[in-house]
């Protein structure tokens, strides 16, 4: 559905996307992860033609978005990063305008809108003004807007940023349902857990490049297998001296604590029995560990 080959985009001296190759296949839920400024949004914007590539090749449904963006956009739904709803209009009015934009036949509009509002649990809000809706409701409405045209490809650009856990879980459920019914999904997110829950394949981008690619499980296994113990920050020197010279440990210090990854669970528990150090928390490693390992945490500072 999406094929990018040596895709590049420069803004002046800055290269936002620096030669990426990736493919999104039909029926996938594909994740695009990376720190701020990694090139995710630039890539997303290129798929529907609001950012023009500097070089390389990009095809969506076999079309070039620089020359045939309209053909692409008829088959695409986008949950944009900003809601961009008309605040002074009602839910229904907003959706009717978008039905007209994407060419839903006049006779079908009402039913289509009401079905989707029901689906996103917004049926009771059809006549409410946008400015009276909560943040979570607005976000759900943006999902409705993205689905009005029955898109083959659904792009979710940071769909749950700033939402409370309840709304986030509700949206995850909907995304999973859409995926199961055959919609291809591309998701960008900062939440590793979100990507782990939803995506069957993902790439981690950094500095405009693809740093790693694969299924969440494969990536964890490949880049950060094992278990992570989180220790008190005061213990960091002690831990450092214990693990000095041992390759199988992965050590990350952070303002909130010391993260120590080991291959086996017993490696961690031995810190307690052998050295009297008790981890605050022990958990299996996850995508976040992969992410931090590959992108380094210093990046988010200047991005």
């Amino acid at each position: 559905m999406i094929t990018a080959t040596s895709l590049k985009k420069n803004f002046g001296d800055f290269s936002a996307v620096n030669g990426i190759n990736l493919q999104v296949n039909k029926g996938e839920c594909f994740g695009l992860l990376g720190p701020n400024g990694a090139g995710k949004s630039t890539f997303i914007n290129m798929t529907y033609g609001t950012v023009k590539r500097s070089s390389g090749d990009l095809k969506i449904f076999g079309y070039d978005p620089d020359t045939n963006s309209r053909e692409i956009k008829y088959r695409l739904g986008v949950v944009t990063q900003d809601n961009a709803l008309d605040e002074s209009l009602t839910v229904l009015e907003n959706m009717q305008i978008y039905c007209a934009f994407i060419g839903v036949a006049r006779a079908d509009r009402k039913k289509r809108i009401e079905d989707l509002l029901e689906y996103m649990n917004l049926g009771h809000k059809r006549d409410a003004l946008i400015q009276t809706l909560s943040g979570g409701m607005k976000r759900r409405l943006v999902f409705v807007r993205a689905l009005l045209g029955n898109p083959e490809l659904l792009i979710l650009d940071e769909p749950t940023t700033g939402l409370d856990p309840a709304v986030r879980h509700l949206l995850w459920g909907k995304v999973r349902e859409l995926h199961q019914t055959g919609t291809t999904i591309v998701l960008t997110t900062h939440y590793m857990h979100e990507a782990e829950v939803l995506c069957n394949r993902l790439v981690i981008m950094n500095h405009g490049l693809v740093a790693a690619e694969g299924s969440p499980q494969k990536m964890i296994k490949e880049h950060a297998p094992g278990y992570v113990g989180i220790f008190n920050i005061e213990d960091q020197n002690k831990i450092k001296s214990i693990i000095a010279g041992r390759d199988s440990y992965d050590f990350v210090e952070d303002t909130s604590g010391v993260y120590l990854r080991t291959q086996t669970l017993s490696d961690l528990t031995s810190f307690h029995s052998d050295h009297g150090l008790t981890p605050l928390q022990i958990r299996p490693s996850n995508l976040e560990d992969v992410f931090l390992k590959l992108t380094g945490k210093e990046l988010s500072v200047d991005a």
């Binding site: 033609g49 956009k73 944009t80 002074s88």
Partner: protein, 256 residues
């Protein structure tokens, strides 16, 4: 092409839906401003002026007010209005994920300001005709074409400034050095022949003076044919040039 035009009309329609939500607030300046000018200048100042080109000052002033309305309604809509939609409300960001492209955005906005200019010019003309300031009230509908033809280039100037300003405050500069001079120096308040030659020559290159000529021809029933042939053509040409420029710069703004 047909599809593209349909999409433009959807944008125009969207603007109308938003506009009519707050109709009183939106329509107030376009109705109140010309009325105020008519009363203060026409009745007040006009009582000291007995004869301008063989008519009363009220009669002289009337046609220009319809054109001024078209200027203001189109410029403010496509400067402040468009800028807010583009920068703060992100309306176009979402629109551009649909089959709509920048061409449709610009054309849709232009059709919208054109229609608004047409309706406002006719509205003001009706009021003026009630004051007995139009020699043949049957010509009122033709003022729609004048409003439309003035609103297009003035709206394009607004879009152009939307694309070029760095923040909303800078519209004030555009207003002070472009729109206000157009308003005061395009023959609305006194005959063009009274102006210094350089001003007259420069004014010819801007749309308002031609709109004023058209409106005067219609209000006074003087040389309507020639006015449309000359000023009408110039307005069409100016519209095409300015819309093309506006498209070029708006595109740079919306597509990176």
């Amino acid at each position: 092409m047909l599809n593209s035009l349909k999409l433009c009309m959807h944008i125009t329609h969207r603007n109308w839906i938003v506009y009519k939500k707050d109709l009183i607030a939106n329509i107030s300046p376009t109705v109140a401003d010309p009325a105020l000018v008519l009363v203060s200048l026409g009745l007040g100042l006009g009582s000291f002026i007995t004869n301008v080109e063989g008519m009363t000052y009220m009669q002289f002033l009337a046609p220009g007010l319809t054109v001024a309305t078209a200027l203001f309604t189109s410029f403010f809509e496509s400067s402040y209005g468009f800028y807010v939609r583009m920068t703060f409300e992100n309306v176009y960001k979402a629109m551009l994920t649909t089959p709509i492209g920048v061409k449709e955005v610009v054309m849709g906005e232009m059709i919208w300001v054109g229609l608004k200019g047409a309706v406002m010019a006719v509205g003001v003309a009706i009021v003026l005709a009630l004051f007995g300031l139009m020699s043949n009230p049957w010509l009122i509908p033709t003022l729609a074409s004048v409003g439309f033809l003035v609103a297009l280039p003035c709206g394009a100037l607004g879009l152009l400034s939307s694309a070029l300003v760095n923040n909303m405050n800078q519209f004030q500069t555009v207003y002070s050095f472009l729109i206000a001079p157009l308003y005061f120096l395009s023959g609305i308040f006194f005959p063009i022949s009274q102006m210094a030659t350089p001003v007259r020559i420069v004014a010819e290159f801007f749309p308002l003076i031609h709109g004023v000529r058209l409106a005067q021809a219609l209000f006074w029933q003087r040389g309507i044919g020639e006015a449309f042939l000359y000023s009408g053509t110039i307005l069409v040409v100016q519209s095409i040039i300015l819309c093309a420029l506006a498209y070029h710069f708006i595109k740079k703004k919306l597509i990176n």
